[in-house]
Every structure is written in C-alpha cells, then in structure tokens.
Subunit: 356 residues, 2 copies
Amino acid sequence: MAATLQTIADELGVSRSTVSNAYSRPDQLSPELRARILEAAERLGYPGPNPTARSLRRGKVNAIGVLLTDDLSMAFTDPYAVAYLRGLAEAASARETSLLLLNLPEDEEAVRRVVSNAAVDAFCLYCVPDWHGALELIRARGVPIVIGEDPAAFGPDAGYVGIDERAAARRLGEHIARLGHRDIAVVAHWIVHGGVTGPVDADPDALRYYVTGERVRGFRDAFAAAGLPWERVLLINAARNGREEAAAAAAHALDRLDRATAILTTSDVLALGVLDALRVRGLRPGRDVSVTGFDDIPEAEPAGLTTIRQPSVERGRLAGEILLDPPEDPRRRRLTLPVSLVVRATTGPNPLKEKS
Amino acid sequence: MAATLQTIADELGVSRSTVSNAYSRPDQLSPELRARILEAAERLGYPGPNPTARSLRRGKVNAIGVLLTDDLSMAFTDPYAVAYLRGLAEAASARETSLLLLNLPEDEEAVRRVVSNAAVDAFCLYCVPDWHGALELIRARGVPIVIGEDPAAFGPDAGYVGIDERAAARRLGEHIARLGHRDIAVVAHWIVHGGVTGPVDADPDALRYYVTGERVRGFRDAFAAAGLPWERVLLINAARNGREEAAAAAAHALDRLDRATAILTTSDVLALGVLDALRVRGLRPGRDVSVTGFDDIPEAEPAGLTTIRQPSVERGRLAGEILLDPPEDPRRRRLTLPVSLVVRATTGPNPLKEKS
DNA sequence: CCGGCGTACTGTATCGATACAGAAGGGTTC
DNA sequence: GAACCCTTCTGTATCGATACAGTACGCCGG
C-alpha cells in the first residue's frame, strides 16, 4: 500500500498533524523534527501530501478550467488564441495555479460528465460558441467565471474581459469605405454553425456567435454611415477559422466578373488565407483588392496586413487575475480594453474608383 | 453553506448512498426515486457530486499532467508541439480525461509545489529539457508517465513514444552530403542551455538536450560516412526554437566569405527562419543555399522545405493511450515510430561543386 | 409454508489530508 | 512562586463523496 501521512507518523511515533505541518507549515515544528520527518518520508518513499486529499480539505484545487471545442483547432491554431492562453497561463502560473483543458465531446451527456467532474476553482471561457450547453452546466456549478465574449451571456456575476467588438469592426469598415470601395465581401467564421464554406444570406442581427455577429454588425454600421447598402455586401461563411477555409471562401468573391475590391474578415488568420487566394490569382493586395484582418497576430505585420490590434495576451492575463484575485470593486471585474486600427499595405484606394 | 449529498438525502429522507447512486450508478435505484432526487437537487441548487471528493474516494482524477516550461513558447508556438498536444488531447478526450497544463516556474521550490500539488493520474512529458528538476519529482510521485524523448531517461517503467532521432537526422545529413555540399552549418536549439544565439564550439557527444543531441549526432554520422570532417561544420545555437532566432543564427553562416552552401536545422520552425534569412539576402533556397528542417509541419510543404516527416499527432495520441489504457505487453508501452525523408525544393546540388 | 433469489435501499468504513482547539513543558516577569 | 506566554506538539472533527456488506421485502417454485 502507498505511504500516507499516517505511515510516516507511525514510523516516528509522532502525530499525523505534525507530519502534515512538516510539509504545509514548517514554522509549526522544530527544524530538527521536520528534518527527521522528511528523512523518514524519503526513506519510505512517501511522495508528499496527496494533492486530491489536500484539495478536498482546503477547498481549493489550484486549477482554472478552460473549455475547448472540437479538436482544439480554435484554441491552438489561431495565434490570437495562443496569445490569450499565454496571458492566462502567466497569471495562473504566478499564483501556482494550473490550467485544466477540457476538450468538450460532441455527446451532450459526456459534456455534462466532463464539466461537472472537472476539479477546478474557476472557469475561463474563450472562443466557445455561446450556444454551447456547457455554459449552463458551469453556471449550475456556481464557480467563478470570466468570459471573453458576449458580456451579457452570463449575467453580472461573471467577470468579463473583452473589447468593443462592434466599434472596432466599424473602424475597419470606415477605413475601407473611406478608400472608396463599393464592391465588398466579408469573410467570417461561424456565421452559421456547422455550415459550409460559401456565400450565405444571413441577417447580421441574427447571428448566433457573438464575436462574429458584433464584428459583422460593426462593418454594417460603417457601410450604412457611408451610404453603402448592406445588400451590396457579399457575406461568405468560413466553416473553420483557418487559412485554407478563408482562401476557399475568398474564391467566391474573386472568381466573378464583379470582383470585390475589398474583402473584410473577422480574423487575421482568415485574412492571411484571403491573401493566399489573391497570390494564387496574381492579384496585388492593397492595389487590386484590399484586405483587412482582426487581432494583429504576429504574422500580420510581415504580411503588411491592415487590422485591428487588440491586447490578446493582456486579455488572458486579466482574465486570470480577475479569477484568482477578484477585485473588490465589481466594476473592475468587467473590463473593456482599448484597441487600435493598424493600417498597413493590404488596404488601398478602390482601383475602380474612376468608373463610379 | 453549499449543498452536499447529505443535504439532498435529508430533504427526501433517504440515505446519502442512495443520492450518490442516483448520480453514479443509476441502475442501483428505481427510476422514480432517482427522478425525485434529481428534482430535489435541482431545487436546492446542488450541482452534483463534488469532483474533488469523488476523485479522492475513487482514487482517480481523470487528468493527465503536461509539463510546460517558460512562457509556453515551445508548447504552442511550434506547430509540431501543437500537433502532439492535439493527439494527446484526442486520446484523453475519448476517455473523458482532461489535460492539466503545468507551467513550471523558475524557482526550484515553486516547481516542487506545483508538481507535487498537481492532481493528475499520470504525466506526459514532451519538449521538456531532460535536465529539469521536475523529472525527479515526478518519479518520486510514482504515477505512470510517458516520455517523448530520451528513452533511457526514466528507466524502463516509463512509457515511451518516440522516433529514432539520430537515424532520422542521419538521413538528412546523407541527403546533403550526396548533393555534394561541403560548407555546412547546423542551426540547433538548446545546444547550450540558457545560451545566446550564435556559433558554439560544442562536442556533439556532450549535448545535454537529448533531441538536439541525437539529431546533431545523426548529422555527424552522415558526414563522417561521407568523409566530411566534423570540424568543418559550423554549429550555431538558437536561443529559442523560433523563426527569428533561426534567422539570426543563420546570419552567422551566411554573412561570411566562405558562406555555407547547406544549412541543416533541428526543426522546421528553425528552417523557416533560415529561409527568411535567405530571402532577405536575395539567396535562392535549393540553389544558392540548401536548407533542411525536421518534423514536416504543415507550413513545410508550401515552403518547399526538405525535411523529415514524423507522425506528430500520432505520437501524442499513442502517449495518451499508453497512459490511459496501458497495454499488458510492456513492449507495447515503448514505441519507436517510423519517419520518412521528404525531399522538396529547398535542397539541391552544391553550387560550388565545380570548384572542389 | 418455506427456502432461495433479485431488487431497492441503508449504514458504516474509508479515501488522505488540514483546521483548530488544547496540552505539555520551559522560560519570563513581577 | 504565581501568572503568563511562547514554542512545540497532539487529538479530534471535518472536507464530500464512494465501496461494500448488509437488511428488508416481494415474488417464485416446490
């Protein structure tokens, strides 16, 4: 049988509490006794207090749950998500807390088991579709939570670290409108859940995925202000937030007579895919076709991508801090961070301007 | 106070065991009673059995610990590592097991606390420097472990899923030697721990980081067989496994009169960085300078990179399976997977061949 | 009418630790 | 020398569940 605290206590004829103190509160016993205890532990192969038992008693497990969907694709493939995760991990690590990655299965019942079995002190949600059933389960558990998306989704108890998605997207739209573009396509991820890559006819006010919805609505706001009817905009769904999907989506805007002169996307990854599609066709970004991204991932700069810079690492870091050191002031648990428009080479004036 | 099993039991006047069974063994009680119990739980806001208590009693936490160093850079930045992690997550997820990411601090004592406090059933090690103090702690805990690197590091108790690093690297070296190259540089990560980016004078037999060591020795094997003295090879350390570092490292081989005609690297990420360095200087990969990678990450193909293809996702998946469903046969807990040489456009004959 | 069996539930021991109140003993203070 | 304190250790209750043996009871065949 494996050694426990009691094993060591019996070996030395001291009490179990004392052995526990040797590990957890060294100031509660004499250095000599502590040394003897640690020596005996070493000798008997006792690996230190059982983490699970300790967690049960202390009521704390030093872990934050992070929900991931599908094959982790969103979470690790998109540099934005990686940056967010890094920030979260930094904040957690500084408090000796780990991240428990919960890969959500398809099966509803399995999701229930996974979420309610997860030994965590708190949950952090990012890149999770807001219609996912796991959210209700988390609410039922009553543990602290910070979300990165729809601030209304969880009610006021949840922390929130986000940006004004809609206003940010609007700035991109305004930039494009100001450059005189009128034939515009929008490539977005998860316009329709489980959909395929291709043009869709969707009402921006009815999109289910919050982030995409807000960004698309932001584009529309800008176009409306510029007198551009939304009906002229070609909306294309990308089945995954991936470069290949975006390139495939862009084809629908590029391979037609009334080719779009501007393609807006809802993420830099998608924008890079659109740039791939341009390259294949010998089209020059910023000259023949303007392209915008969103996030300002590291790859955006070398690609000359016009985009919105958002503090990705910071979002993760703040989420972690709010969970682990909740500020007294509730207002400081709901943060909207600033963003900035970064204009680079992939956007330029509408080449067809003289015609219109 | 929060509701527990007992709360529900008291409410309905049944025993605690029965309530427990309602959640964990539905076949042990009548459907009617179970329905009443779940209804009462709902009503009293009981979120289901406490995961920590359950884990303690069951002796199982449904989590695999994954050690990460530094700022997660290795783990998420390198597509190889992401692929590995994805495989691991797949295997874990299929068994309703989660991954606990342990971000190891610098401080020795903090590492001890983090590792021994981690509630996990097993550990999976990848991309962890084999000199790290955490390894000894894990061994002390006595939980199952699978390693992805030095098969000898943990003794025969540890599972192992790896490749023959040395033989694989040798194939790259042979390929380069066969193309007639004689002015060769090797860009490798962690040749020296905590070192800076730049040429180093290191004995291949004395490298501490297993993976780098084996790959460099594999290169040497090939060159030795081709009659190329190892002293002619310029060995350059990259402080991190990153594109920028590799570009900086490559500068040491490119910005000199006796420019290298071939640069071998220990990972595709490094190789892509070397290609960046070529591009800046107007050098043509495969013509002016040959470049090889290692791993065959998705980006390798579009870049035309000659490399070794290894089954990254598979490595992670098998590691997870060995941990969660250990095969009876010990031989099936130590796997060496096959690799293949993928020749693409970044390697070609030595352009200086006529001179020699 | 009785033994045997299956179903539905109960009761107690246990998982491995920590919290906290308290006791023993030595040293100070007045 | 009594009162008090501090250090060092002990003992018990507790964290919230699950395992397993046991009980009660209805039903069946003989």
